[in-house]
Structures are given as C-alpha cells and as structure tokens.
Symmetry: C2
C-alpha cells in the first residue's frame, strides 16, 4: 500500500504561529490603544511567557513603545504595570522604485501613513551604483524636508526593473538584460542594508505594483492577474493576497510569452514575445512600419484620439495578443480581477475594451467565469507603494509576504 | 497623500492562529508520544486556557485520546494529570474518486497509513444517485473486509469529474456538462455527510490528482503545474503546496484554453479548446480523419509502437498544443515541475518528449528557467489519494488546504 508522505509538519509552522501572535498583539494595540501586558495576554489568548518574548522583540524593533503605567487606574495593590502602545513616530518604512529613468521613494510611518514622497530622474541606462546614490540623496532630502528620523527603520522595500530570481537560485546569465545588469543590481540590497542598517526586500517592481493594486482605497481583492504595458511588458500573479514568486522567483513574465511564432527578436533571446507586440516601443514601431508618422507616446495618443485607422488597427492587434495571453492564464488561475497597467493601458479605452472582449471569448461562456477587467488605478507610484505593501506584509505588523527573494540584516 | 489600506488584520488571522496551535499540539504528540496538558502547554508555548479549548475540541473530534495519567512518574503531590496521545486507530479518513466509469475508494487511519483500497465499475453516464450508492456499498465492503470501524471518521474527500465551482459562487449553467449534471452532483457532499456524519470536501478529481503528485514516495515539490490527457483534458496549479482554486473555484481548466481559433466545437460551448485536440477521443478522431484505422487506445498504442507516421504526426501536433499552453502558464507561474498525466501521456514517450521540447522553446533560454517535465507517477489511484491529501491538509493534523470549495458537517 502506498503511504502518504505529505504529513511532516513543516519547519515554518512554528515561526508562522509566532508571526500570527505578533500580528494579533499589534492588532489589539491598534484597535484598543495602550494596554498592559496582562491585558494583551487576555485579549490575544497567549501565555504570559510567550507574550513577554513577543513584546520584548517588538520593543527592541521599535514597533511598540512603553507609554505609561496603569497606576492611575489601578484598583488593586502591587507594582503598577507598564502600558504598551503603537507609536506612529516610532517606526518607519521606505519604499523605493528604480525605474528605467527615475527613482521614486515613499516613506511611511509605523501606522502605515505615507509621510513623504518624491522622485529623481537619471539618464536611461544609468548604472546601478549611480542609481543607488540618487536614491540615497533623495531619501536624505525627503527625511530632512519632512523632519523624519530613521530611529526605528522597520525595513526597506526595493522594486527593480527586470526579472528578479531568488538570490539562492541561479540567475539569468550576464548580458541577458544588458551587460553587467544582473551582477550590479544584485548589490543593491546590500548597499541599502549597509547604509540604513535595516532589513531589505527586493523584487521586480511590476510584481510590487500588482500587490499595490490588490488594495486601492477601500477596494481589496484576493486573486489578481496583472499586466503592465510600458517600455517593456511585465506581469504578476496574486493568489490569495500573496504574490506568486515561482520556483526560482521568475513568475509573472507575461511579456515573454510567445505570441508570434518566428516573430521579431526579443531582448530575452526568444522571438515573437508579447513584448515585441504590445510594449510602447513595439506599438510605435508597428505604426511607423504601416506608414503612420508616430514618433512618441503623445503622437500615439493624439492619433488614437482622432480615430486614425492605422493606429487603431495596431492597438487592436496588440490588445488582442494581450487578451489571448491573459485568457490562457485566467483559465488556469481564475482571478477575480485582471488589471492592465502602464502608459499604453491609459492611452485609449480601446486597449481595455479589446482585451476585455478577447479574454471573454477565451473563457467559459458563462458570466460568472469572467473576471473584472480594469485599467490600473495607480500610476507612477505603484512600484514604490507595492514595495511598501510587501514590507508591511513581511513586517511584524502583518505576516503574509511569502518567502521574500532577498532579506538581509547586516550583522 | 494616499494611505495604504492593506493593513486591517483579516478576520481569519484568529482562526489561522488557532489552526497553527492545533497543528503544533498534534505535532508535539506525534513527535513525543503521550503528554500531559501541562507538558503540551510548555512545549507548544500556549496559555493553559487556550490549550484546554484545543484539547477538548481534538478529543471531541477523536483526533487524540486520553491514554493514562502521570501518576506513576509523578514526583510532586496533587491530582494526577491525564496524558493525551494520538491513536492511529482512533481516526479514519476516506478518499473517494468518481470517474466517468468507476468509483475508487481508499481508507486511511489517523497516522495517514492506507488500510483499504478498492473500486467498482458503473456504466458510462451513470446518474449521480446510483454512483453514490455504489460508493457507499464499496466503502461498507472495504470496512468489513479490513475490520475498519468508522468510530472517529475525520473526514471524506470526494473527487468528481468536471469543473467544480465553489458552492457559494454561481455554478455553470445546467446542461453545460450534460443535462442535470451539476445539480445532481451538487447533492453528493450532503449525501456523504448524512450517511457518515463527517465533514466532506469535494473538488474536481484532476485537482486532487495534482495534489497527490506533489508528494509521491520521498519526493515532494512546492510548485507544480499539472495536466491530464484522458477522456477530457483537465489541469491544476499548485503554488506553495496549495491548490490554486481561483476566485470562484474554476482554476486549472487547461483543457479549455483555445488553441485552434474557429476549431472544432467543444462540450464547454467554445471552439478549438485544447481538449478538442489533445484528449483521447480527439486524438482517435484525428487519426481516423487522416485515414488511419484506429478505433481504440490499444490500436493507438500499437500504431505508435510501430512508428506509424500518421499517428506520430497526430500525437506530435497534440503534444505541441499542450506544450504551448503549458509554456504560457509556466511563464506566469514558474513551476518547479510540470506533470503530464492520463492515458495519453503513458501511451508513448513521444508525448512527454514533444511537450518538453515545446515548453523549453516557450520559456526563457536559460537552463535554470526550465521546470522538470515528467509523466504522472500515480495512475488510476491519483484522484482518491489526492482527495485524502486534501483531507489531511484540511484536517487538524495539518492545516493548509485553502478554503475548501464545500465542507459541511451535518447538525
């Protein structure tokens, strides 16, 4: 008889239990304000010894502070008990998004309120050391302008361009995304960890953007499929509010699905990838190849606005290719929402309309099987906000970010 | 400034915390044998009051039993404490797989050892009430033959054919998979729950089979993409050892991805689905359409064995279509393994070889980006074993099966 072997309790059950406790302690403090350890233990339903460990840890990390004692309200006798509370000023988070031509930084406090935001341009193709220096200068400037002190920095989330495989896994070969690209970028996490003495999460900025789109305003969604049509085409898959990273961290590369067998060469080394059809440069090139005088995104927008038939056809073809890829993935993952982001998505309603029609035709012919398909609600801010969201998920304030690709705390 | 809104602690944090506690209590008992409540509280690090609730619940469900007291080893004074333990004979699990032409049942004990297994045929197209009666009779017979008593039945996992949307979500319209199919099948969980007085999980049997393939022998894998080429074509996606069910439970329907625009009509209402190209009936029909005298799977196997060029071409085309779909999904999910199951996969090495070549061409041209592609290791047993695996995951013995599509305990 075969024996089922799925039964050993995984090692992370213990740390997951601990994380759940921490989340409940912090939740109780957020909901009820200052509490004594005894009150917390009662509310959360955890042993005093376990709770002491947790509060010691949270105090050390600056997530909570001692605010006073319960002497004033104390009915019985004995030593007054310290009361603990979240202190919005006592913790900070930094979200960084390195785009192709600018770095964007957001700073949030311990209550997850964004207190500063800014960006700095750099030349297209700028090297990573220079990009990192721009980011450092921007962070210093924002902190000075807003009076933020990184006295209890909880973590830094960094979005980067290009696929970001897990550090423990073999990387893309040098040169796959430009000479020296991967190796230089791989030092970014260490540079931030050294400079700020905080733990760092790095991931693809499109994946972070998808995470940000799961929670905009009062709207939240569990299962989301995300694509970004920009200089390149990237994507991400969120299942049960968690980013799918994949076996070696390469999940979400929708831009490199082959859509035209033997099509135009792609920078990834393949040919006919979705990116060669549905990125901004690909669309501009296709318009020019058909005789339209389109040299910029502004030209493209204007031509789409006046219903230029060549531009409409090119956008229709690009959106159809996007819809076919999304349809296949949606059939596999059954997302509640599909989000189309990037400059091209915002260019003309034609894109979202055509993607919607194509995805609908690809899925089961029942209304309930169709996801909501919408334009991305966030724009240039999404990568940095998503990096923050990932930090929040991985921070003691809310467990949930699965197995971060790289988290380091300098010794 | 935008405010991040991902921060409210979700309601299930509490029940997840409880599940984690239960898993740790059971893990401790499995690792250390019988323990008193005080010892468990110390090992697990949980408050005595919380632990009492947990052990009361586990005792009620028969997952643990009182074995003796610590009177013999007790150094101090006071009332002897009861010692609790897992008892392999004190819990049973039933896995059921309803195929198109037979029901398969496996019975496991509390240690997850399979103690009985059997199957019964029924006519193709048999109604659900008759299928259920066959299953009941088979379970009774197996229990009698093996001396199993369902005195502490932990749960019943039931695999069924066809997409199985969540009970809370709108279903496929009547007739989409045969007249009366969905409505009759939807009573299956209640029928089992009433008959056995146990909680029931129902899901698509292909999804359960995928779960079984994540853990065969000593081999386990976290991220797996699964396809089954049989009478129909089904699939499933496992991410981080969990079945992806999707927003309304429709995830994994790889067989209904369009691969031939305006192709042959499919039973789902679309045309040109993968199932119309790569299922057993589709392959047989394609061989006959090209003049080959092939009327059965045995004919097909024999013809492939003698390198019949028509059959080889048909299998090549089918496998290429499968590889394209798997390639797109693999680009999105980055699985560690791709498993091809079903009669067609076992027919000839040509299938797995051609799928492997096609998937390789669809993915990034780096060796590390390629998943392992293999034939399914389990065969006819996989659905029932997977149903058991899902039960084990959802049972107090190991949390993990996400949001079961249907779990009911009769009042």
């Amino acid at each position: 008889m075969p024996r089922m072997t799925a039964m050993s309790v995984p090692a992370e059950v213990h740390s997951r239990g601990r994380e759940a406790h921490e989340a409940r302690v912090l939740h109780a403090l957020r909901e009820r304000g200052a509490l004594s350890r005894g009150e917390i233990a009662e509310v959360v339903g955890v042993a005093r010894t376990t709770l002491s460990e947790i509060t010691r840890d949270l105090l050390r990390r600056g997530a909570i502070v001692v605010v006073d004692t319960d002497a004033a309200n104390r009915a019985g006798s004995g030593r007054p008990a310290e009361r603990l509370a979240l202190d919005p000023k006592s913790g900070q988070f930094i979200g960084v998004d390195f785009g192709h031509r600018r770095v964007h930084v957001v700073i949030a406090d311990a209550s997850h309120e964004i207190v500063a935001s800014g960006r700095r341009p750099y030349p297209d193709g700028e090297g990573w050391p220079a990009r990192v220096q721009e980011a450092f200068a921007l962070i210093d400037q924002l902190a000075a302008d807003c009076g933020v002190h990184f006295n209890a920095l909880q973590g830094i989330g960094i979005g980067v361009t290009g696929p970001y495989p897990r550090s423990s896994a073999p990387h893309a070969p040098e040169g796959a995304f430009g000479p020296g690209f991967a190796a230089a970028r791989d030092g970014v996490d260490e540079a931030f960890a050294q400079r700020f003495g905080a733990s760092v999460i790095v991931d693809n900025n499109t994946r972070f953007a998808a995470l940000a789109e799961t929670s905009t305003g009062s709207h939240t969604v569990e299962d989301l499929l995300y694509i970004r049509l920009s200089d390149g085409v990237g994507g991400a898959l969120v299942v049960g509010r968690r980013l799918v990273t994949g076996a070696i961290g390469l999940a979400g590369e929708l831009g490199h699905v082959t859509v035209v067998p033997d099509g135009n060469p792609c920078r990834c080394g393949k040919a006919g990838c979705l990116e060669t059809v549905a990125s901004v440069p690909a669309v501009l090139a296709a318009c020019r190849a058909r005789g339209a005088e389109i040299t910029s995104l502004a030209d493209l927008k204007a031509a789409a606005g006046r219903f230029d038939p060549v531009v409409e056809q090119v956008l229709h073809d690009a959106a159809t290719a996007v819809g076919r890829v999304l349809g296949t993935v949606a059939m596999t993952c059954n997302p509640a929402e599909v989000v189309i982001a990037g400059e091209l998505a915002r260019l003309s309603p034609l894109i979202v309309d055509q993607v919607t029609a194509t995805v609908a035709a690809e899925l089961f012919p029942w209304a309930a099987a169709k996801p909501v398909i919408r334009c991305g609600q966030l724009s240039d801010d999404d990568g940095a906000l998503g990096a923050l969201a990932a930090l929040f998920h991985s921070s003691p304030l809310l467990g949930g970010y699965p197995d971060p690709p790289a988290t380091r705390l300098p010794a």
